[in-house]
Amino acid sequence: MATERDWRARVPDGMWVKCENPRCAQLLYSKELDRNLRVCSHCDHHFRLSARQRIAITLDPDSFVETDTELMTVNPLNMEGYEAKLKRHRARTSEMEAAVVGTGAILGHPVTIGVTNPFFTVGSMGSVVGEKLARCVERARDQRCPCILISGSGAGARMEEGILSLMQMAKTAAAIGRLRQAGQLCVTILTNPTMAGVYASWASLGDIIIAEPRAMIGFAGQRVVKGTKSDLGADAQSSEFQHEHGMIDRIVPRLEMRGFLESLIRMTYAAPLRKGASVEV
């Protein structure tokens, strides 16, 4: 057994990937895993996706136009180590920040899209992430199209930007409030993980809230809860728990997500009483 593992460990990088789910741990051929949108064919475990990967599997090919790339993170609290951390995450992900936003299309329907990247500071929301997402929501309002927001944020608000991060919750919530007034659809997709300040703001404010299966979704992180000397069952913070308690409309497997989004847009934007809607008979 051990020798077999050693042998597999020597396989050239990138050919084989071990399933992240510790109870599965199957070796998967990476090209096949990619073809399967990085869902394990043995246990259905949904691997985490970067923001770019997520956009690639959600939007029509070549339809994505990134916006708001000029926004640069600063260290407003002079928190020690913050710049070094950003530098590390930038090097590791080739991204400047944890959110990627822009415009695109889903099976021909124009949308704006905002995604947080679980590989960049676990998708935490600081000033730039909040600002990018707020602009993404406002752009949907201006362009009169649906807004798709996808969260992969295990850290919620970004601690290193302190109280300014907390304010991004109010900012994004207010922006979605205006989108609602303008009569545009907001769909939020919760992926593993979606926690704390992100879940307690924009991620919970979709007209329709979808989650991927078995994602960790909840309010306070286990370590913070432990810090308060109380306990929380691990199962309470999952897609299934949140769905069962009425917080999420549907749990949709990744392979069906794009088609499901298209149905939602098609089935809401042909509303007969909608401003500017035309009924084709």
Binding site: G162, I163, L164, A170
Partner: protein
């Protein structure tokens, strides 16, 4: 020492019938400056302790001294009546206003009943109900924040604490009546911002406002945080009123009586009332659309970043 010297001067003045007023005034100024210096030198951790002081006035204390009348309303009409947040219509001088605010308990029993000021989803849904009512009836809203953090245990999760916090912020963001927010004690993360969206946001001088409690931050930074590390975390978070003002998160710091609000609760309430009235009047004069646009722009502008050229 300065106090003694001054008393001595006052005694001599009355006994010897000489005019020492210049000296006395100078000493009074020095005394005042010293006290201010002590207050301004409170470390962030000392501020946390003052903000959490068990004798600090709580929302119902302020309500009793600020408003001429108040009727507490109960329940969220969905599940329960969470007493960690109180609210209802009140009279502020001639005006009907809606007051909402976190409420901590004073006795052991009351602390438990009020869950130490940590709110479950029902508390925020009660707040939503009162906010919507205020909008319908055209009543300005006064929101007083004093919570360690929102409740994060199993029941809170099951009943949607995140949704409750998110939806309350969205509602306040677009509410068509003026909202004045004051952080009176602890402004504990999501539990605080949930009722923290207003046209004017103020903090009492020794109140704190933080993305995470210092204990929680220390737990993330260090695996088993020692007390010194918690104190250090409090400093790193920039959670004082002075920090919040500097970072553009609040509009004003309301001075506390020397030594903190708990040294003179009635005096504190009087100062707080003046600040609320002074801030509310100009908001009442604004057309509603302008008011709501201004509030939106205020929170839209929050945060710090740079714009890369080219």
């Amino acid at each position: 020492m300065i106090q003694e010297e001054m008393e001595d001067l006052l005694r001599r003045q009355s006994e010897q019938d000489v005019d020492l007023s210049a000296e006395i005034t100078a000493l009074q100024d020095r005394l005042e400056a010293e006290k201010r210096k002590i207050a301004s030198e409170l470390t962030p951790w000392r501020k946390v302790l003052v903000a959490r002081h068990p004798n600090r006035p709580y929302t119902l204390d302020y309500i009793a001294h600020i408003f001429d009348d108040f009727v507490e309303l109960h329940g969220d009409r969905r599940y329960g009546n969470d007493q960690s947040l109180v609210g209802g219509p009140a009279m502020l001088g001639d005006y009907s206003v809606m007051v909402i605010g976190h409420q901590k308990g004073r006795t052991t029993k009351e602390r438990q009943e009020r869950n130490f000021g940590s709110s479950n989803p029902e508390a925020y849904r009660k707040a939503q109900r009162l906010l919507e009512m205020a909008e319908r009836l055209g009543m300005p809203v006064i929101s007083l924040i004093d919570t360690p953090a929102a409740q994060c245990l199993f029941d809170a999760e099951a009943r949607g604490i995140s949704e409750a916090i998110a939806a309350t912020q969205l509602l306040m963001g677009g509410l068509r009546v003026p909202i004045v927010v004051v952080v009176t004690g602890e402004g504990g993360s999501g539990g605080a911002i949930a009722i923290g969206v207003g046209d004017v946001v103020m903090m009492l001088e020794h109140a704190i406002y933080s993305v995470i409690p210092p204990e929680g931050f220390a737990a993330i930074l260090y695996k088993n945080a020692a007390p010194e590390q918690v104190q250090q975390a409090a400093a790193l978070l920039r959670l004082t009123a002075q920090d919040a003002l500097e970072l553009g998160v609040i509009d004003e710091i309301i001075p506390e009586p020397l030594g903190g609000a708990h040294h003179d609760g009635i005096g504190m309430a009087a100062t707080l009332k003046q600040a609320i009235v002074r801030r509310l009047e100009p908001l009442l004069a604004l057309p509603v659309d302008e008011l709501v646009d201004q509030r939106y722009a205020k929170f839209r502008a929050m945060g710090k970043w740079e714009v890369r050229r080219g």
